[in-house]
Symmetry: C2
Subunit: 405 residues, 2 copies
């Protein structure tokens, strides 16, 4: 299967090709990018004329709860604990396999329609999400979320082991990690067990971390530490870590995050919506920590639109730090693409558009809505004025999943 | 001229009709709403079947610089003063009448396409903006911006007087106020002169106020006051005031703003983009001050999409104050509609949909994009998930300016 994308305005996001490349063609064979240059001809290839549209890597959303499209716009007027107890948990308790499959597909459609090609998920009923992901042909890393606050931690870990046994070789676009809900919904014994498991099986851990002040206090009390990252230091060494949120960090926490080489999934919209605060993203970047972007579940994150997530991430750091020089547009696009790939250990496969990488890419039309005119700077236009609805074409693993051209 | 809107899901925003009204018809005659009820028939009226789409008041954008579409996405990587000196002023210096007309029309198109029916502008070359506004049939309040930092304040005030003489009765949808750039670009003598002028002619004043820390320091030095609102207290009594930004306010400032009954135009996107900070909107609301929303010019505000402005306004107050109960969705919509009308003294004409008010309204399609599904709460969906592009129909003063039905 060959596809030839004609007349692209390419934003590669690959180191060494930072400049916008006008009027290039991209040849894709099976799932791989085989050639990028002007005037490629190939008689066998299916041709898509992109007519000067911007082609860039598909977004990598590093923190989501896929079936939570069900809970979209159900949180206004609730404190977090109330929302969980009154709206989320009673409904989650009754969700069927069919529900999980259906609401996962809604989320995958939303991803595809707004430019995301890869997502890092954390939920339960994992088999139903796998089925939906397989049907929708998206790229996903997922897990069975682990926690032990109710004493059922062992059963959850057994479920994860079952999933890993059954699905590890099922679909190369579906990969797995160990999802730990959080330190505050586990305990020292359980954390030791799951980190040992992750280390032994060479699996990443994806965990909520320091989302709000209460969580920090809970961790300090449960683990008898001065600051939460001390728990990471003790148990998580040698494990590739993706920490979602990281809103309430001290400088001591940040030092350890750097030392452990973690990746942070910054979810600005969700953090604001739930009244958590604003993560110290500029400080993390200044400390050379790999920051990526996530939407979180739609219950708090509202939607899967990573353009919007980029805009919030950029504006918050400029505004809160009172420094408009923070977060240059090109760097913000990195957070949503190549940095996400690094977090998942897939930076040689996805996250940028280059020869021999997987074809996970999108085409966006900058001209179609009046809000983008005039276009003085393309990178800024992408971060501040493009919306998911401007995505006209999306390919994951070389397969065309959206085509409005 | 009669128009009959059929099958509306009405969000009136009028006090006393807070509930969503399903399946109502709205009869408009000339510029006025004449009837709202189920199953209206009128053989003479042009019928528009809105098929259950949400109908709500058009947005009122209370702070903009209309011709600045020209400067969209030109600010990234510049400090404010650098941006003004290196990018804005050299170009503004050479703008022709044709330029102002052209870029104003781009902005008015953007307004219309994203749901705004009325805008409060502050710029120069006022006659060209008037011409564009008249051609595009939007509702606008405008001015010739006054400042005296270069000693040319008198000439600017003369220009404003000329505009008022020539255009006060030109088009009832085009009204005027006294635009003062800011206290820091004026001086005590000039402020006395322009406030006397406004008071004598019963005109509102629209002014930038406390946008960033530097401005506050400049005002304190120039006017020898402890905090900026003391200047308002001294010179602006008895004048209806719209103050844009109000980011850096002390509790003493807020007390005086309340006493003077000012309206605040909160421009969250612009304030973040320029590294100014976040206005204390929740505190203003707690003090019963009339808060409205503005985009600012696109140079800093990126676009004219008031849905996005609502989302930023709501999320910032929840997040920064770490209280998710702040800014309930319905109240956020008030900021963007009826509160804007109050700021302009037009609350009996526009800002809500009710009998005998002007027909300034929009219809939005909640169903058309997957990001809005499922719809658990309509007000929250409007604030957090609807975008300008979902606007399918817009009417200003009873005239249909957008119709994608």
């Amino acid at each position: 299967m060959k596809v030839l994308l004609k007349n692209c305005k390419l934003i590669s996001m690959q180191e060494g090709r930072e400049k916008i490349e006008d009027n290039v063609d991209i040849l894709i064979e099976d799932s791989y990018i085989k050639n990028i240059q002007k005037n490629i001809t190939d008689d066998e290839a299916q041709k898509v004329n992109l007519n000067g549209k911007v082609v860039m890597p598909g977004f990598i959303n590093t923190h989501a709860h896929v079936p939570m499209s069900l809970f979209k716009e159900s949180v206004d007027g609730y404190l977090l604990q109330d929302w969980l107890e009154k709206k989320i948990w009673p409904i989650e308790d009754k969700l069927t396999s069919d529900d999980i499959y259906k609401y996962s597909k809604i989320t995958f459609d939303e991803m595809i329609n707004t430019g995301t090609t890869c997502i890092n998920d954390q939920y339960f009923n994992t088999e139903d999400i796998i089925k939906a992901a397989n049907d929708k042909k998206i790229r996903i890393e997922l897990t069975r979320t682990l926690m032990d606050s109710d004493g059922n931690g062992k059963q959850r870990l057994d479920e994860l082991k079952y999933i890993l046994d059954k699905y590890s070789d099922y679909n190369p676009n579906i990969t797995f990690n160990v999802g730990v809900h959080g330190l505050y919904t586990s305990n020292e014994k359980y954390i030791k067990e799951v980190t040992d498991f992750a280390r032994k099986n060479n699996l990443k851990i994806h965990m909520h971390f320091c989302e709000n002040s209460k969580e920090v206090e809970d961790i300090k009390r449960e683990y008898k530490v001065e600051y939460p990252a001390q728990v990471l230091e003790k148990y998580f060494r040698g494990i590739k870590l993706i920490l979602a949120h990281c809103v309430k960090l001290t400088d001591e926490d940040i030092k350890i995050l750097k030392e452990l080489d973690v990746s942070v999934s910054h979810c600005p919209v969700s953090n604001l919506k739930l009244g958590c605060g604003v993560a110290p993203v500029q400080k993390l970047l200044d400390n050379d920590i790999n920051v990526t972007l996530g939407t979180d579940g739609q219950g708090s994150g509202s939607n899967m639109d990573m353009f919007e997530t980029m805009k919030f991430a950029a504006l918050l750091q400029k505004g809160i730090n009172e420094n408009p020089l923070n977060m240059m547009a090109y760097d913000v696009i990195k957070l949503a693409t190549i940095n996400g790939a690094k977090a998942l250990g897939k930076e040689n496969e996805i996250g940028s558009i280059d020869i021999n990488k997987k074809a996970d890419l999108i085409a966006i039309d900058l001209e179609s809505t009046c809000v983008n005119k005039p276009i003085n700077d393309i990178f800024s236009t992408i971060v501040y004025n493009v919306k998911g609805i401007n995505v006209q074409f999306l390919m994951t693993n070389g397969e065309i999943l959206l085509n409005k051209i």
